[in-house]
């Protein structure tokens, strides 16, 4: 796995992400600054990490989506490269049009920092193969704008084509309004592109990959990616 983490001004979870990737793969990811216009040669995974790119001013991810490096990320995705966006990274992917929909202010109008549970909606993707379909895992989340929104047509397509990767659930796996703290449509926590090569999600599995920090529930995301790249 030769991963590249994109660092925008205001990105702040790049080190968390690097730790998780290294833990899964034994290899340090490259840090790529937003002003660069190319990815390191041989990159096979691009990660847009969490944070407040450009302060989250105007709209979360809006300015980062216009960064020079995003052209390279787009080309990379078009060639079938694997792209993961977490939290602010998910917001950037929607703002860049690489994933559909948008992330609105949390319905509570408050920043939400707590553990949540997510149900894995399909296990046959490069991001989820180390889980069973229907598995539930715990993950920290920390965002002010994680309320996934898309129009009815898009929602029907996401549901119909199985492009929802993760939904907020109770620890037992029920999809309830109470489990959906930020008010996302249909409890959507993470989605996939039609190619299944791009994934965006709001919570932070990268912050739960070590028993010392409370568990390893988030680790399968990264071992799945490693596996899919090793077998590719």
């Amino acid at each position: 796995m030769k991963s590249a983490i994109i660092v925008f001004p205001g990105t702040n979870r790049e080190r968390d992400m690097a730790i998780a990737l290294e833990r899964a793969s034994g290899r340090k990811p490259a840090m790529v600054f937003h002003l660069q216009d190319a990815l390191p040669p041989g990159t096979d995974l691009v990660v847009l990490p969490g944070g407040f790119s450009h302060g989250d001013y105007l709209r979360c991810g809006a300015m980062a989506a216009q960064s020079p490096i995003m052209r390279a990320v787009r080309d990379f995705a078009e060639r079938g490269g694997l792209v993961l966006g977490v939290c602010n990274g998910f917001q950037i992917l929607t703002e860049a049009g690489l994933l559909p929909g948008a992330l609105l202010r949390n319905a509570t109008l408050r920043f939400l920092s707590m553990d949540c549970h997510m149900r894995v909606e399909r296990a046959d993707t490069p991001f989820t193969s180390h889980w069973q379909k229907g598995a539930v895992f715990r993950s920290p989340m920390a965002h002010g704008d994680g309320n996934y929104f898309c129009d009815d047509e898009t929602l029907a397509r996401l549901n119909g084509e199985g492009l929802v990767a993760f939904r907020y659930a109770t620890p037992e796996g029920s999809i309830t309004p109470a489990a959906n703290r930020n008010g996302a449509r249909d409890n959507i926590a993470g989605i996939l592109s039609p190619t299944l090569r791009i994934c965006g999600l709001m919570p932070h599995p990268e912050d739960l990959v070590d028993p010392l920090m409370g568990g390893t529930d988030g680790l399968p995301l990264f071992t799945s990616l490693l596996d899919s790249l090793a077998s590719a």
Partner: protein
């Protein structure tokens, strides 16, 4: 030329902020408040002096950056 870009949530898009404001106004005792929508306004000082061109520039700015047309609509006014 000064341009003002007003950006509002599209109808049909949830506006939790507008809803919360409506609720808060009610608890402050303001009666007769119907729908409340919360949006953004961005005021730009443009060196462009021609109104038609300034409007076109501001509209392009709105489309490319200031508004996200998945969830928002915008309007440009010149002053």
């Amino acid at each position: 030329m000064r341009a003002r870009v007003t950006i509002m949530p599209k109808t049909g898009v949830l506006d939790p902020q507008g809803k919360a404001i409506g609720h808060a106004l009610g608890s402050l005792g303001f009666a007769g408040v119907g729908e409340v929508r919360a949006g953004k306004v961005i005021e730009l000082e443009l060196s462009e002096a021609d109104p038609a061109k300034a409007r076109a520039v501001a509209e392009e700015m709105a489309r490319r950056l200031l508004a996200n047309t998945v969830i928002e609509s915008f309007k440009v006014e010149l002053a």
